[in-house]
Symmetry: C2
Subunit: 216 residues, 2 copies
């Protein structure tokens, strides 16, 4: 991924946080001369390995897990907020005509080779943790143990667990860092007024980069 220096995000806690809040990953492997790409829910265990470990499960019908023995590349991509930025949101636009609209986005690339984890106990634990993570904000959180034992056993037989120890993390935060503060704040105000979740999340990232520049 091409990352201009100004857009580089290296803080591991910030990157982990985005992975946890946008955990549907785009998983790319290259095997037997083909790009094999699947869209999978990942769980990040930040206590395992130096940079954390990703855990996923795929149905046995998905050929990707059988290709892992011949895969020589693997990348998981996580997408945060993205939004179009019209240059009318820059106050400086009204002073000169030397700007173009852009598209802001936040994205993470996780490098590391996948390994199949064939262990029933571990697989059940993964399902439990994954469920707890996503049910925690429900009024009546469901637990995997609420399902019948037969159902859980059948489900475990149908899936394969895969873990990826993170070797390298890349973060690209394209959030108007190359603009003057008044333009950044103009964009934040416009995004907040739109009230949708993508715009509010993007306003948060841009505000953080304004504050960070002040701390320099």
């Amino acid at each position: 991924m091409y990352i201009p220096k100004v857009n580089e995000k290296t803080n591991v806690s910030v990157l982990h946080s985005l992975i946890k809040s946008h955990s549907l990953g785009t998983w790319v492997i290259y095997a037997d001369g083909e790009l094999v790409v699947n869209h999978i829910l990942f769980l990040l265990d930040n206590t395992l390995g130096k940079k954390g470990t990703l855990v996923e499960h795929v149905t046995r019908e998905n050929p990707a897990w059988k290709l892992l023995s011949s895969a020589d590349n693997s990348l998981v991509i996580f997408h945060g907020a993205e939004t179009y930025i019209t240059l009318f949101w820059y106050p400086s636009k009204h002073e000169h005509s030397k700007a173009a609209p852009t598209w802001d986005c936040t994205v993470i690339h996780v490098h590391g080779m996948p390994r199949i984890a064939e262990d029933r106990k571990w697989l059940l634990e993964h399902i439990n943790v994954l469920t707890d993570e996503h049910e925690s904000n429900q009024a009546l959180p469901w637990k995997a143990s609420d399902a019948s034992e037969d159902f859980i056993e059948q489900m475990l037989k149908r899936i394969v667990d895969i873990e990826i120890q993170i070797e390298k993390l890349e973060g690209k935060w394209k959030v108007n860092q190359n603009k003057q503060e008044s333009d950044q704040l103009g964009v934040v105000a416009a995004l907040l007024s739109r009230k949708d979740s993508q715009s509010i999340e993007m306003a948060f990232y841009i505000s953080r980069c304004v504050s960070a520049a002040k701390d320099d």
Copy 2:
């Protein structure tokens, strides 16, 4: 991409429509033994080629375009709405314990080999069309011709245009098609009550699949 038959979406107009509304693509090439992935805004021209043509521009500083001569694979991924589905939204959950939560998503894979289009006139036309597409819903749509000529000339020198004639389109709509109608409608109602744009978009996809099943 593994696509169970029930989740396969083949209608070209529907796929084109999602590309137009979610046009930040994840562009994957494999070149010189490496996965090279960038996140680029695409413009779809559905009048060019049998399945349409994607057009993108990258900065000359991005090494991806120089690698195209040695690339033997290229894939562009477009992501539509995605959301967690708790099984509390299924009325049938209250009758049995044979279900698990899931993650619904809509995604498109576009296959086709990229070609560099080194033509100043064509590049300017691309920038004009791209700008018009994204500025059309602004109160005062900006046009590239509003910028100073010097600025436009400098910008054109800094970017490279790439076009990808679409050879194959794959669509995966994982939108609760495997559930009974009352459960699908329970999910739609819950998503609509959340009012955020991702949930509303997903409710739309699920409703469409309920209507389509009735038309069978």
